[in-house]
Symmetry: C2
């Protein structure tokens, strides 16, 4: 199959109806017609199909307001499942979501490191199968796997365009290879874009414009607008980590100067700590590329607990992220900004306060509109949840593995 599934109009209608039932939890056909703008006959047909496939059932009647009581529809949450996977050098996460979008199982473990895609994907496939088994999820109820990675991708051919996590991944057919290992459809997605799709999936109003900053070992971004992730020309946009906040700053690895990731990312914060030997000793920092996520976790935990020296390092990082979020808002005209990723796991509140302050004091449209910032409800699993949500929204209800 192609790496990017283009849904037919019929599939889109079914996905929309399922989304509305999921959001409402319990809803009548008449309410579905109102909310979707679809004809009553279309709703009747779609719902009939969904009931026949076992993904929706009738659950009692709404109270009457004069006429015949309306029969209420609910999802069979356990009728379909989707898997979400995130993999980078440092960390890997897997989640299983049921049809209602609830997390059935989740796990996080060491990322690929220097290993190539064949070895890493084999490990991931083994873990997915074990999780499905131990969660009691039958293989034939799984609609597919959303696979989120960092950096430039060719989503249509299902390959990564950069040597990330390591050189062997560049150009490797990861989607095809993973599909063969799992006998399941796989869709490739950018990590931060997956996260913003997942955050949208948890909101009731699909018309909101949402920006997301994702911080793992690096910094990425995503925007959700007009009911879908912002894609641009090649689905490689919203690279907030590589906008310049200091045109005269140091050279970033990307070739630009003073990029957000270089100024504010975990590498920079940890580097700042290593300029203070007593601090690194006190916090037990390890140093080096492989320990970046753990060292950053130790630093941000200490900052959150009130240790003033790491707090100053985190404050500096948070100020840069606040400035970049203001640029993101001034450009994308957002309703809301979400912070997600392991980087926000311990000191998320510090980052959130800095971002909120920047938005309320320096965003261009602040006199006319308030832009709200919030932490992801699940910073560590936001990407994997989003990757699975993407599969639920695209591939449901048919569990056929085309």
């Amino acid at each position: 199959m192609s790496a990017v599934h283009v849904p037919s109009p019929r599939e889109k209608t079914r996905a929309l109806v399922l989304d509305l039932i999921r959001e409402a939890q319990s809803v009548s056909r008449v309410e579905l017609a109102d909310a979707s703008g679809l004809a009553a006959a279309t709703i009747t047909n779609v719902v009939r199909g969904l009931i026949a496939e076992g993904v929706v059932h009738e659950a009692g009647r709404a109270r009457s307001r004069g006429g015949t009581p309306r029969r209420l529809l609910e999802l069979n949450a356990g009728s379909r499942f989707a898997v979400g996977v995130q993999i980078d050098w440092h960390t890997a996460t897997i989640v299983i979501l049921d049809l209602a979008g609830e997390v059935v199982a989740r796990t996080s473990f060491a990322g690929s490191g220097p290993r190539g895609p064949q070895e890493s994907l084999t490990e991931l496939a083994g873990r997915i199968e074990a999780m499905l088994c131990s969660s009691g999820v039958p293989q034939d109820t799984v609609v597919g796997v959303g696979l989120a990675t960092h950096g430039p991708q060719d989503r249509h051919s299902g390959v990564l365009l950069a040597s990330n996590p390591s050189p062997g991944w560049k150009g490797f057919p990861i989607v095809t290879a993973f599909e063969e290992m799992l006998s399941l459809p796989v869709v490739l997605e950018n990590d931060a874009t997956a996260a913003v799709i997942g955050e949208r999936g948890r909101l009731s109003n699909g018309q909101r414009t949402i920006g997301l900053v994702y911080m793992g070992s690096g910094i990425g971004g995503g925007v959700f607008v007009n009911g879908d992730a912002y894609r641009g020309a090649s689905s490689n946009g919203t690279e907030i980590g590589h906008i310049s906040l200091d045109i005269n700053g140091e050279l970033c690895g990307c070739g630009n100067r003073g990029c957000l990731e270089m100024l504010a990312g975990p590498h920079q914060v940890v580097k700042g700590a290593f300029a203070m030997p007593d601090l690194t000793e006190r916090l037990g920092l390890v140093g080096g590329h492989d320990a970046i996520v753990k060292d950053f976790a130790r630093l941000t935990r200490a900052a959150a607990e009130g240790d003033p020296v790491p707090r100053a390092l985190v404050d500096a990082s948070a100020r840069y992220i606040g400035s970049a979020v203001v640029s993101l808002t001034n450009l994308f005209d957002l309703d809301e900004v979400v912070l997600a990723g392991t980087g926000f796991d311990h000191a998320g509140q510090i980052y959130l306060e800095a971002v909120s302050h920047a938005l309320s004091s320096t965003s261009y449209a602040r006199a006319h509109r308030t832009v709200h910032a919030r932490l992801s409800s699940s910073p560590v699993f936001a990407v994997a949840i989003g990757a699975a949500t993407m599969m639920l929204r695209r591939r449901v209800p048919s569990a056929e593995h085309s």
Copy 2:
């Protein structure tokens, strides 16, 4: 009428068919069905209506490739017209476009200055009526007026949200007032957004993602993506003039620090010149807010002619714009960047080279994708052309003044 016309599905289909005929110049019904993805019967119906209304005619037959020769359709360019208006403190421009998108008449003159909206709109209405008359355009062939202004707008209620051009404009019902003066539908648009819609109208491939930097007395931006202008939450996005390029820079009037407009806009360049008294004398610069556009024109003309001192000032400005364009590209994943506005009228080539250099040396995805930069073919009238194009795409073919 409402300030924002929401087209019906039928109107959208007609507008799409008209766009395709405009782009192809001469096209058969079969080719229209192919290009639009619409059913042959739908095309037949829509074309019948367009011919009956006199906006399309049959113009001979295509060469046969075996079957019956296909009848070719062409626009009646002179059957409908649209007016585009741009107004800010410093300049005002008006264009009349025919249905084919060609400029029938154009003019530019002094902007509103401190005058309020009633007085300025009355002047604009008088000029529009005189231009229509002297161009021989009958009032009943005019589909409407696109009105482009700078700064935050409430497009739905047709009012400006800021004291721009001057305090009296804030909250004034400019759309309703202008419609009453002209007895024509009026649609409000952001100046840079209008410009990018106009630039899109001149390309054959509607799927390209285009970014635009607009420099008048200030700096704004627009993005065209998925066949329409990027809107975000409130149609007040892509404010590229207020993204920070120097987080530790001077305070901008917007409350942010080191904004592009403050570092690179005409005010800053002219201010730089006034630090050199012999330069200001030599170029005959006037100084002051009201002369900013003229002074900047003198400076950029001298720079373009090779005068090294103004050239250095323009180079500094161009470097900032290059950096901001890279951020715009890294965030919106663009295919192309266009420079438009009076600010690029004289030294456009210098700015274009700086932007092209920044894109090819520092954009994040440069290893995978080339982003082309170009100057607008009509920098001074790009906004008014875009505002008129917007009306042509939305309100055609019906010339009914609802």
